[in-house]
Symmetry: C2
């Protein structure tokens, strides 16, 4: 966006060198003329509004920082209402405010959970309240002891047939909910995941709508203990979010607050499977992960934009005859590090757009009871989420290093961008755990080759196994790599061969699960190769269409004890000598100043008016 | 260190699995029985002293944080004096306080600069003042516009023969000193690097001792503008350090404050080369970089210790028949990611110890006027500094990810460890720039092969070029890799072949400098291979001895403009649309609260008493 305060463009010479139509590319990047205009308008709106100023963020202590976020969230909502913004516009506005806030979880997780898992009746009751922000919700799944393994959650929801209620309880310390954004200080409600218990029998993990705080005085309801879990990576970053801790002491909720779209509990305490397919849940996961891939392209592009411009400005060495020094962007090492990141930002955007299409395609099919493409779509989004977020996290740090010493200053924007981005590698599925899921479908596909079952979607290439196993790389000289078909075939052959090799090694095991564990490192490698192929293939497709131009194991702890460090020196709750991690983590949490008061500063000015409907309802 | 608060050891089962003598390994890690005892005593001393508490660090705003650091530095000094600690003990005590402070630069750069570059007379005058902390100094080399390219520094030191003084001046904004630690708020003196000018003629960049602040009231002296450059990566991290900005408006200093060990300026303004060899400066660089390699092993080992212990505590999935879940350290993927880092922590320690020997060897030779091993030793330390710091930075972040969601909490210690560590990739030589220096000596060595000149030290293997170019890898099955000689030969052959390939490509260029620029990415690859070989060879040696058991170029800016981001959205001074970076960076700096007052909080309580000698002098 043109933004020439003093009127002088120090990169003008650079801009003149362009060989394509920048305006056309803006529209390509945005997705359409319409999307471009909405984004452009919302970005300017945010940029010109003093309330959304963020350059002082890293200098605020936590309470001030958090209060500022509450102020911004309230102001955003006010603008959305005043300007009668559409859902698309509102979402773009929130995106450009560029500060993690409780509203992200309310709109991004709480509402979608009710939409996806609630019955129509439940949706009719809860969604309007949520849309108007009369209640604010969060998504409470992860516990202190369990994140990746959702089936291991310990919170219980026990049916009491006498009162027709569920009793939500946290039986252990490790069952405390831990991490949910918006929970710590703000949410009035939560979708809580708990183990359904009826008459002493377990029925798996399900979602329950639980009210946490009074709508009168915002105090936690009886039986509920709730707070913020403390400082996270970086000095502004994700510390604007009240990630929380939550414990239940036999809290009662009406039966109809279990989300019963898929599984119902009757008045008599019978468990009834509805005719809605369970697979719908996977549809939601495809949606959420698709947005994460899209976000990867945004974070990466931001970092690359900063590093590229600065590399053109920065000069170091190479002055000849008293002339100016060389722009660091002209060093081949700088280019070699930076340009692949730039290309990847575009590639991830293209992949994100394609995943959006895939999500819509899967949804349509699900509605028509066609589940055939779901496993592949699910694996594909899981894998791409993992690949793009890991790559982007590393790339942001590389961009920071590309800026030399100055990249280490917060004013460069890069430290905060890194700190706020990295959790994407962990939430919505730990990246390694996700790759292991991808490996399962790859191994299944390979095992079925020759059975007549044709692989679909992004795994279709495996149907050409015979060819790909034998194909010889046609590259003779460097330029041959410029042929996209060659590149594609090489990536396909590589991916297939890695999968086939794993499958062969797996078949040596009498117990396949044991084999899977033993070979997991190689399996992760095969998954990565498969996901890289997807990115390369979607990128190539688009370019052609649209764009111009172990031994250690028993000794491990001893080996680190030998370093002889004190707990003080380590300064880490997770690295304590005694391994007594959880209670200490819990203790630590309460030390955060946000826990000094039950009602956080700013609540009365910025949150309460929303809850009290003192701001008029929007078009949403 | 055993530290069982509640008396229960949750890792006891793990500890029982050890197959070697942990006590013996502690001594190996420390370097000797004596070093072990000193480190152990100092670590306990710090850990048990409430003043050195650091777990609240991330929750403090900058001024409180900084004041805390001043308090700790003063307390450390008090303990050093009271306990009459030796230099070795004092340095260990400061190390365990584990908080960047102005004292690091005073002891680590200011004093060594005077020792290395000052005449005996200068040393006699300044060192006692510095040793007693009657003056506090910093090292002011880097400027806003120049870091890597020291020869490009713009600050001038012009000789005025009338008054027998040098006039220190900052002619441009980009000539402002920028980054020196301890400069912002505390230092009374600095070694300032400036371009020596006599009678309009330039004589290169030299060091000058300049007083910055009054020893009476700590106010900056006339002509001096000085302040802190603002927040850096992380919320505690390096923000305890007052990295500063400094401008001179024709500040006069006596002629004898130029550091004249190597080059002297006479009363008449004549420039005289002393009989002390210039190469001594490289000796100092070998020293400083050797300590950085050693520090890499410390940072890495800290991260690995945290991740390893937590991986043994953390359980996720794999519960069978209602039993406990699998410890995540038992997953092959976790091991595959973690264990090589653990091995590297040891390897870097071994390399650090060896570099310490190398430094002592080089120093002895220099004193005997033997410069033969210096180029190789210099390249070797530069390369190893680059390799070990880049590896460690990435490894700390990998350790954080290995801890799942909880690694993102500051209470895990890993975010701060990362944020405080990463600048090691940039200071004391940008890692890529250093690798390019290594490449020069590799190319020179290859070009001289067959000339009869035998390569020495870590490059000696290149003397076996003929063998290594033809050798065939003897590995037939996986276990063959367990033979250290095989591993070593493979690393040697790889490194040599990469260097030879680069040299061959270089010889195609009529202008060698052009060729070097063009091929720089490959040259960096060859340097990395060479440095990896050094690490592998030193590790193997020790294990056997001692241990028990263009296309894009013109379009680059346009491609990122196409993202259509506002400066507000980017939130980055370095990424501004107008490229007008420097003044804005400068402006930003003054916004830090530390710049609110000329005298920082805590100065009167914790710094002034030192300066005023209200604490008794030590044995140092
Ligand atoms: C910023 C942030 C925001 C969050 N927001 C929310 C929220 O709003 N609501 C919510 O409910 N949760 C939230 N979370 C929690 C998040 O979803 C979990 O942290 C995540 O699912 C990872 O689980 P974990 O922390 O238990 O990691 P773990 O599973 O403990 O991972 C530790 C290590 O074990 C490895 N590992 C685990 N299982 C296996 C296996 N089977 N095979 C091989 N290796 C394995 C992992 O790869 C990792 O290296 C948030 C987390 C963060 C960091
Ligand atoms: C925490 C911290 C503490 C510091 N403390 C001090 C201190 O006490 N005193 C002091 O004087 N300084 C200090 N510095 C400054 C530090 O020494 C410089 O930042 C460092 O030398 C890197 O220089 P630069 O910032 O100019 O990077 P630049 O050289 O601008 O690097 C920018 C990019 O250009 C590339 N590049 C530069 N030259 C070349 C080339 N010839 N070929 C290929 N690529 C190239 C680099 O690889 C990098 O990617 C400190 C810095 C930090 C971050």
């Amino acid at each position: 966006m043109e933004d020439l305060e003093g009127g002088v463009d120090f990169l003008a010479d650079e801009r003149k060198k362009a060989k394509f139509d920048v305006e056309a590319m803006k529209i390509f990047w945005a997705g359409s003329q319409h999307k471009f205009q909405v984004a452009d308008r919302m970005a300017r709106l945010v940029a010109s509004d003093p309330v959304f100023k963020k350059d002082d963020r890293v200098r605020l202590e936590r309470k001030e920082l958090f209060k500022g976020t509450l102020r911004k969230a309230a102001h955003a909502w006010k603008r959305i209402v005043e300007l009668r913004l559409s859902e698309e516009e509102a979402s773009q506005l929130r995106f450009f405010v560029d500060e993690p806030a409780y509203t992200d979880l309310h709109w991004g997780m709480f509402i979608p959970a009710i939409k996806g898992q609630g019955t129509e009746e439940q949706q009719r009751k809860w969604l309007p309240l949520a849309y108007r922000m009369q209640i604010i919700g969060c998504y409470a799944q992860t516990e202190l002891g369990h994140g990746s393994n959702v089936q291991g959650l310990e919170t219980t929801a026990t049916f009491d047939s006498e009162t027709d209620e569920f009793v939500i309880n946290s039986p252990t310390l490790t069952s405390s909910k831990w991490w949910p954004g918006g929970l710590g200080k703000i949410s009035t409600h939560a979708v809580v995941y708990a183990r359904l218990m009826i008459d002493g029998k377990e029925h798996g993990v399900h979602g329950f709508i639980v009210q946490l705080r009074s709508l009168d005085d915002h105090l936690p309801l009886p039986g509920i203990t709730v707070g913020d879990i403390g400082m996270k990576f970086g000095s502004g970053a994700y510390n604007t979010m009240d990630n929380g801790v939550l414990q239940f002491d036999h809290v009662r909720i009406p039966r109809d607050q279990m989300l019963m779209r898929v599984l119902q509990v009757t008045r008599e305490g019978k468990v009834v499977q509805s005719d809605v397919p369970r697979q719908l849940i996977y549809g939601t996961m495809v949606y959420v992960r698709q947005t994460i891939v899209y976000d990867a392209s945004r974070a990466l592009s931001k970092a690359v934009c900063i590093a590229t411009r600065y590399s053109a400005v920065r000069r170091q060495f190479g002055s000849q005859n008293g002339g100016r020094e060389t722009q660091v962007i002209d060093y081949k090492t700088q280019q070699n590090r930076l340009f692949p990141l730039l290309a990847s930002a575009y590639a991830f955007r293209i992949v994100g757009d394609w995943l959006n299409w895939l999500y819509r395609d899967v949804t349509e099919r699900l509605q028509a009871n066609d589940f055939s493409t779901l496993p592949e779509a699910h694996a594909c989004t899981a894998g791409l989420k993992s690949l793009t977020t890991s790559f982007t996290a590393d790339a942001i740090e590389e961009c920071r290093k590309l800026c030399g010493g100055h990249g280490y200053l917060c004013s460069s924007g890069l430290p905060e961008l890194f700190a706020v981005y990295v959790p994407a590698c962990t939430y919505e599925g730990d990246n390694v755990v996700l790759l292991l899921q991808v490996a399962r479908i790859l191994m299944k596909t390979v095992s079925q080759l020759g059975s007549g079952k044709q692989p679909v979607g992004t795994i279709a290439y495996m149907g050409r196994a015979e060819n790909l196993m034998q194909s010889q790389c046609s590259v003779k000289k460097a330029e041959d790599w410029l042929n996209p078909a060659t590149v594609l075939e090489v990536f396909e052959a590589r991916s297939l061969r890695m999968s086939v090799a794993c499958a062969k090694n797996l078949s040596q095991f009498s117990n396949p699960e044991e084999g899977f564990l033993e070979l997991s490192a190689d399996l992760v490698g095969a998954s990565v190769a498969h996901c890289q192929l997807i990115v390369v293939s979607k990128f190539i497709e688009k370019l052609q269409q649209d764009i111009p131009g172990e031994g250690v194991r028993p000794n491990a702890i001893a080996l680190v004890d030998a370093f002889n460090y004190t707990d003080h020196f380590l300064g880490s709750v997770l690295g304590r000598y005694d391994g007594n991690v959880y209670p200490k983590l819990y203790e630590e949490a309460w030390k955060d100043p946000l826990n000094d008061s039950v009602i956080p500063d700013g609540f009365h000015e910025y949150v309460r008016p929303l809850l009290k409907r003192q701001v008029r309802t929007s078009r949403l």
